[in-house]
């Protein structure tokens, strides 16, 4: 995934090389200009559009993943039973792997930054109806804590033990995707936030609250969206894709980001 879209946007972020394009034009005709054009088109291509327009195989389950701005559509390959529970293993066509367990991120491989060997100790289920039952929008719910151990690669920050605090949110957080924030369109969404309980005031890229948020369809008990920061500067978000049509009321207007077949 990263490799794929690193290229798609790599050409844009590398500003200096773009300066070569006019120089190249002086010597490029025909096929060479096609190469320039193809690369340019790849550079400006919007992956969201491609994903939104994709005709999906209904027999498969997909996950739309945004890894720090690089977007790709992944497909479910396995459901493995691990110590964390049943773990979904998702694949990109560029052979990156994202693993989720109960809606939480429990592993990645092949990205710029990866979480490996994530162990969750008795985490509360994100889809547990008790989490949302009776929650008063005007009052914050009491936080629930659980422990987690994770390894961050390739920096070899291994077996990091931490306490994670889960909090049900009364409203969609500020960084929730606009696609899900319309209450009329998604009346059954509940929002959950998880943060690492900091043991020290020191802040480094590797010591930060590493916030996660989840959107849970309380009607279907499905986690439809998640976002987890792997470091202070690198976050991954994911949608269960396509967005479940059943969550939207019949007369809602179509979301601009929704796929045509959703």
């Amino acid at each position: 995934m990263y490799k794929l879209f690193a290229c798609a946007f790599g050409c844009l972020k590398s500003i200096l090389p773009l300066c070569f394009v006019p120089i190249c034009l002086t010597a490029c005709v025909g096929e060479k200009q096609n190469i320039v054009l193809d690369t340019f088109l790849k550079g400006i291509e919007n992956p969201n559009s491609a994903i939104n327009q994709a005709v999906l195989n209904p027999s498969y389950r997909y996950l739309k993943v945004d890894a720090n701005g690089l977007v790709a559509l992944l497909v479910l390959g396995y459901q493995d039973r691990t110590s964390n529970g049943v773990t979904d293993v998702w694949y990109s066509s560029f052979k990156e792997v994202v693993q989720t367990t109960g809606g939480r991120l429990t592993g990645t491989q092949g990205l710029d930054i990866n979480w490996t060997e994530v162990l969750l100790q008795d985490p509360p289920s994100l889809t547990d109806g008790k989490l949302f039952r009776g929650s008063d929008p005007s009052k914050p719910s009491s936080p629930i804590r659980f422990n987690r151990v994770r390894t961050v690669m390739p920096s070899y920050r291994a077996n990091i033990p931490e306490t994670v605090e889960l909090q049900v949110l009364s409203n969609a957080p500020d960084d929730a995707p606009s696609l899900l924030t319309n209450i009329e369109e998604f009346p059954h969404l509940g929002w959950v936030q998880e943060t690492v309980v900091m043991q020290t005031n020191v802040t480094t890229p590797y010591l930060s609250p590493l916030r996660a948020i989840y959107a849970v369809d309380t009607k279907t008990s499905q986690v439809v969206y998640g976002k987890q920061c792997l470091t202070a500067e690198y976050c991954i978000s994911w949608f269960a894709w396509p967005i479940n049509k059943a969550t939207a009321p019949p007369k809602t207007k179509k979301s601009p980001e929704a796929p045509p077949n959703s």
């Binding site: 090389p17 034009l25 390959g77 066509s93 052979k95 060997e117 920050r157």
Partner: protein, 1129 residues
Amino acid sequence: MRLFGIARTFLISDHAVDACLKILSHLAPNLVKTSLAFSFLCSSLAHAQATDPSLQAQQTISNTQPPVEGQRLSDWLLKNQKTTTSTVDEKPSYALGTIWNSAAELHSQSAQKQALLQSLSELPAPSDEPSFDKSRAALAAFIERMPVTGRVTLPSANARYLEIQPKLNPILKANDQVKVPLAPTSITVIRSDGLLCKVRYQANVEARQYFRACRPQSVTTDWAWIIEPDGTVKKVSTAAWNEAKQDVPAPGSWIWAPPRGSGWSDKKTEQFSEQFSQFLATQALSGDMDSLDNDISQRRPGTLSAEDQYYVSRNLPISPNIWGETGLLQTPSARTAPAGTGSIGLGLWQPYGTVNVAFSPLDSFEFYLRYTNINNVPYGSQSLSGGQTYKDKSTGLKLRLLKEDTYIPEIGVGVRDILGTGLFSGEYFVASKRYSDFDFNLGMGWGQLGTRNNVTNPFTSVFGSSFSTRAAPVVGSGGTPNQQYFHGTAALFGGIQYHTPWDPLVLKVEVDGNNYQQLPFTNTIPVKSIFNFGATYQTKNVDFTVASLGNYQAMFMISLHERLDLLNTPKLAEAKPIPADLKTVGNYTPANPGLQIFMDPQSSSQKSASVNTNNKSNTLNTDKAKKSAATTTVITTAPTAAPTAAPTPTAANYEQTLRDFEEQTHWKVTDLRATKQVWTVDLSDASGVFVRSRINLGVAALHRDAPSQIETFHLKFYNWGMLVSEFSVNRKQWMLSQTQLLSPSQRHPAITIAPTPSDDEHPFFGKGFSKLNSSAYDSTSTTMDSNNVSNTGLGKVNSPHTSGSAQNTNLAQANKKLDKIIGAYVPTATEILEQEKIDQNSRLVDVVPRKPYDTNLGISYTQIVGSPSAPFLFGLGVKADGTYKFRENTWVTGTVNVRAVDNFGKYTYQPPPTGLQPVRTDIRQYMTQSIATMPNLQLTNTGKISDNQFISAYAGYLELMFAGAGGEYLWRPTSSKVALGLDINRVRQRQFNVWTSMQNYSVTTGHATAYWDTGIEDILVKFSYGKYLAGDIGGTLDLSRVFQNGVKVGAYATRTNVNYTQFGEGSFDKGVYISVPFDAFFARHSDSVANLLFTPLIRDGGAMLMRKYRLYDMTRTRDDRALSVGPGD
């Protein structure tokens, strides 16, 4: 728990512990006192005992299931999932420390161990370090006890990831051993005195904290080697002067950190440290029950403040000053940007604006090109340049003389405006020394950098009073080394850079050496202070700086920078790579025939093997998958376990093989021939930079379809009819390397460069086209589609471009041939005997006919920057290229250019005459007189007269300004670092309208050229000597650095018998250039290279004929580094 209780008696005697504590109490009494609070034991290795290492090798992983012959590591991991996972209540298993011991590595690692011991024994003992020999003995004993394990570093131990990454997924042998250990809770530091110190692991803590816990605080180190639990070795900095972003040691790491100032930190011992670390990487994890340190109790690191404990080392930030040099604000530092860095920056301060372009061809060298605009000075008379303000061109360089070390600052020397007018010239020596977030600079400057005159020019006392004065710059006669370097007044300058805790922000303060009272054109800036201060905000590719100049005015800078040596664009616009299957090749048969690797979702044979998913279907929408591959949508499927049979080699799918080869490589296939064990593919006009990558892509198509008895692929690279290179692919080795992670001793080069014989088929005067090609081009049998002006590649025998009966005839013949030769071909005994007789000669199995012509239409763009007439001149138009091949090695090519939009009307400047024939200075007339031009139309013939000798002859309108005839000879052995060339040309100057008419001037020009790949810092040297277009005689020296990705940065200078005065402004011809291969920059493969040439002035002296075809470029694939350039496999 030790399941197999061969007690490795690694016992520590009381005596050893006592001795250890004695030493520590002597070295650090406080440490020992405080350590009593912890459970600390240390081991004297010299007294430790161990059992036979060979037994340890067995026991290391004997608590796990042995692998099955031919089993993938991923399969083993999945089958042993129960033992490799655990709940958080138990001690977790540790995938990061997964061990694969390959029996194949035992022999080489045994030699590695002996070499390590030998290196240790040969280390010189410092005379002032009597304990060195004792430490050496202890380390030798430790090494002796280390078993030879055969351990191979694994890039990943995630089974689900390995499944889809066959190149990372080893295939195990029955006598291999795999183990996923339990997670250690410690890290072990190996002290130079031979003691082991096991420290409790803490997450996020850098290496320095561990060895500090094992040594007195007074003992410091500069470097440490971390051997991570997965076998990766990292050298990390550990001192304030060399601090750098680094990985931390994971549980189970070993750390080797020789103390500063000891014999173990000497430069000479660095090689030993590397060897030692590499061998440690073959060992079990530290803290593991099978490790050599398993009997040592661990200790907890001393109590650290949170800031110390979680301290994150950072790199020294570097950024350019307003002149483009790495430095502070106005002053330079001794720092240089990493090799391969290119930047372009803009600096604004009244009355100046500077555009700086900088490159670092070496880590220790920067050079700069600069345009300086002076707002309050006109360029020239109103009639010459209108209202344009003055523009000054200049170049500069900086060389690092000394690299920073513990006590030594980095020292550099630099020159500004080295060959320009000298308006802003200056020279400097500068030293930089870092301490953590601070970087201190102190230097001495001359010229503009020394006008503050606060110190006596030291050169006056050394070389005499002539150094006390400096001549004023002379506008209009730049380009000459001014011989005023380090002359005149001098001044000290310096400053401090502070890297703030907010990572992107750097603060700078400096004392300037320039007093701004002696600026060019009598400008002055009434600065109020000798200090400049400012702040730089850095992002990955852009630096912004705002600063105060002498407390008088503001300065602004912006700099864009990029590592040109790291340019590599994934080939998103290419077809998806063809996966390689592991299958029978020659006598080799995979141990596990059912072994499969992940197949591409486009494969029709793919079956979903999703486990416990909701998937009901075994198929994918392959059309969609293809579409998604072409776009950026990512759709894939689960790894498959379904075996795929090799396709039956029929004529139809064999044709597809060549199509796929062309689609993957963008090389044109002319024919494919076979012997019993070899396929030979002839490629026409094949060149390029990323040769290995493209070969790999193409061989995947050949490997997919070739019969199993084919063991070698020969790829013959013809370029313009000459057999330039031949690459031999060992199919089995290639297949193994593509389908699994091989252990180091099994990694052999699969692609090699073969020597090319002289080419009998394409001699200089012979008939060039290969057999079927010529028939395909026969007008009686083939009709070309005139509407199809673009060469579309494969036009097979059943191509729609062939007509009626001819098509049928060709098709029948070809299919017959194909069916016979590559179909289910079962030869009779007689045929076999006959075939064996003629097997020396390959059989022709397929030929790809091609059109003899190629045309291209595109946009043309021309620009001139910095002309006195206007700062920026451009022309935009349409350009048409065409080539017609009479034979493979004889062709005519031409270009017509039509300018559509331009501002060349402003191009009025005509340089003054020089006394030389205006062979280049009439460029204005050539560019402006005619809207439609024919820059090139020539007939060329090439050939090869022996194994290593190439020749060419050409005639026509050879370039924009000259027409004529000439020839070239090149001697270039395959993979040689040296080549020699010779060209001679008789040319006449063309009329300014750039069509067919000529001027009277004619000349014989030519050069003998030597090419030398020095092997030093990837530097190429090219030297030409001969007669130039204006009739002057002299030589051109060209130095360039070629990076791994093929990007080349170089500079040249020409000196001829034309003196500086006659040459005019600039004094001699010189320039710098960058070549960027399309392969590195664009999303598709291409043979092309984009060249950016900067020549400060166009003059007539030292002007070479610009020939379109040069044999050295045409034989690029013979280069010694042809297979090493590129992104790697």
